[in-house]
């Protein structure tokens, strides 16, 4: 068994990460006895497990249970088409947003959600043959009003959340901002004022840019604390 890369090195497609009896978690494939990277990413090697976390990709592949921020792009009498940055448009049934059945002969659904509106929703159904189906009824789900939206590459979301959501929790704790992170790389931010919203967005973009460099949490904490100090000085 041989390992050719260090933990957290950057690999690119075709890089032979190791030879021998390793288990692939994601982002790599087996070729004979070789473990080969299939995307640009950071390689994590722990015991006999190898994982490549991708750094690139502007597409999102939906998974059941994911929280996403979607944009209404079309509707028919009983459902909306939602752009979730996936290769497929998602469908949101009126009843899965309103929490009750709808009578299309009496109600127009664009009264509730119109083209251009944003919703926080959960992926309820997705498989290889049908377009994903969303649910936007329930706690923390539904139409977005106010605040700001920031887009990041979907593969960067796990870094923005952090282990056990530690990174996002730190941002919330320091800034007291309301933040909803969509697994599809769309993040909604609402804070006390515009300057604070800008700080949160700046922090998120910093994580996206530097996600491959160790020591991220400490750098982000420092960035936030300094940013807060500047804002407080500005307030006075």
């Amino acid at each position: 068994m041989t390992i050719y890369f260090k933990n957290m090195d950057i690999v690119v497609p075709g890089d032979i990460i190791a030879r021998g009896d390793y288990k692939i978690i994601e982002g790599a494939y087996k070729l004979g006895d070789m473990i080969v990277a299939e995307v640009i990413g950071i390689v994590y090697i722990k015991d006999k497990n190898i994982k490549v976390v991708p750094l690139e990709g502007s597409y999102y592949i939906p998974k059941v249970g994911d929280i996403i921020v979607g944009k209404i792009v079309d509707y028919n009498p009983v459902s909306w088409s939602v752009d979730i940055r996936a290769p497929y448009l998602a469908r949101l049934e009126a009843s899965d947003y309103l929490g009750r059945p709808i009578d299309p002969s009496r109600e127009n659904i664009n009264r509730f959600l119109d083209v251009g509106d944003l919703v926080i929703a959960k992926v309820a159904v997705t498989d290889r043959s049908t377009n994903p189906q969303l649910v936007a009824y329930g706690k923390g789900l539904g139409k977005i009003t106010g605040g700001k939206i920031v887009y990041v590459a979907p593969p960067k979301i796990p870094r923005i959340l952090g282990r056990n959501q530690s990174m996002i929790k730190m941002i919330r704790d320091i800034t007291k901002a309301d933040i909803k992170v969509g697994n599809n790389g769309v993040i909604w931010v609402k804070a006390r004022n515009k300057e604070l919203e800008e700080l949160v967005i700046g922090t998120i973009l910093k994580i996206e840019r530097e996600s491959h460099i160790p020591g991220l949490t400490e750098r982000v904490r420092e960035f936030l604390v300094n940013g807060m100090k500047k804002l407080e000085l500005g307030d006075k």
Partner: protein, 251 residues
């Protein structure tokens, strides 16, 4: 003995080529990944004076829909030459040559892609030759492979390509336009280095079986050299961000 064709000295007395290179010497190669803002992935590849820009979109919805496959993504490739990339202005409409090359480039790239993760979608590559000086299809393959990786499309490996050929008794690597036009044989080759597969192979002109073997061998050496440059270019951006951050922190 020098080799002259159509008034051009292709190989001089010392065995040097029209641009001064040795038989197996590559032209200067410059690669830059992620050069376009709006495309999902992009790369600029320069092999000497041949310059190609490639962009990638996807996986995204297919239009028209009936082209979709239930179990995997389809790859679509368009290879085009800018009207001003050649000496005589090329008409903007795609020629038969451009359509054929789009097809063989697609078939050179497809075996490296892991397409079954995205059923019913399309991955679309567009390669534009900005300036042509021989080897535009192989430069397009090199650029397209990088643009695909930059778009985060899962791949078994990059695809790397080179043209080799024959001028008289000389085998030459990375043919320029003159050598392509007046040489005796031209053979573009693409490989998936990690699996050792050849995914593009075309030839025109003539070669003896011995010359063919020598060409293949020379092509493989050149491909491995370019492959290293491709990988370096993919890593470059990340190392650059790291470097900038280190400098910032040391202040």
């Amino acid at each position: 003995m020098a080799i002259e064709r159509n008034g051009v000295i292709l190989i001089d007395e010392e065995g040097r080529r029209s641009d001064g290179r040795k038989w197996d010497e590559l032209r200067p190669i410059h690669i830059k990944v992620g050069v376009l803002r709006r495309a999902d992935g992009s790369a600029l590849v320069e092999m000497g004076k041949t310059k190609v820009l490639a962009s990638v979109y996807g996986p995204r919805e297919i239009h028209p829909r009936h082209l979709a496959l239930p179990d995997k993504a389809i790859l679509r490739v368009a290879y085009r030459m800018a009207t001003f990339s050649v000496t005589e202005r090329k008409k903007p409409q795609p020629s038969r040559r451009e359509i054929e090359l789009s097809k063989v480039i697609k078939e050179a790239l497809a075996p490296a892609l892991i397409l079954d993760e995205f059923p019913r979608t399309a991955i679309e590559v567009y390669a534009l030759v900005l300036q042509a000086d021989g080897g535009t299809r192989v430069a397009s393959i090199n650029a397209a492979a990088l643009a695909l990786a930059d778009a985060g499309i899962p791949m078994k490996d990059l695809v790397t390509a080179i043209a080799v050929g024959r001028i008289g008794n000389y085998i030459v690597v990375d043919l320029n336009d003159l050598e392509d036009k007046y040489g005796d044989a031209d053979m573009p080759i693409a490989m998936i280095p990690v699996t050792d597969e050849i995914t593009l192979l075309q030839m025109d002109g003539t070669m003896t079986p011995e010359q063919f073997d020598k060409c293949l061998e020379a092509a493989k050496r050149a491909i491995l050299e370019i492959y290293d440059l491709q990988k370096e270019a993919l890593r470059y951006r990340y190392l650059q961000i790291k470097k900038e951050l280190m400098e910032e922190q040391s202040k």
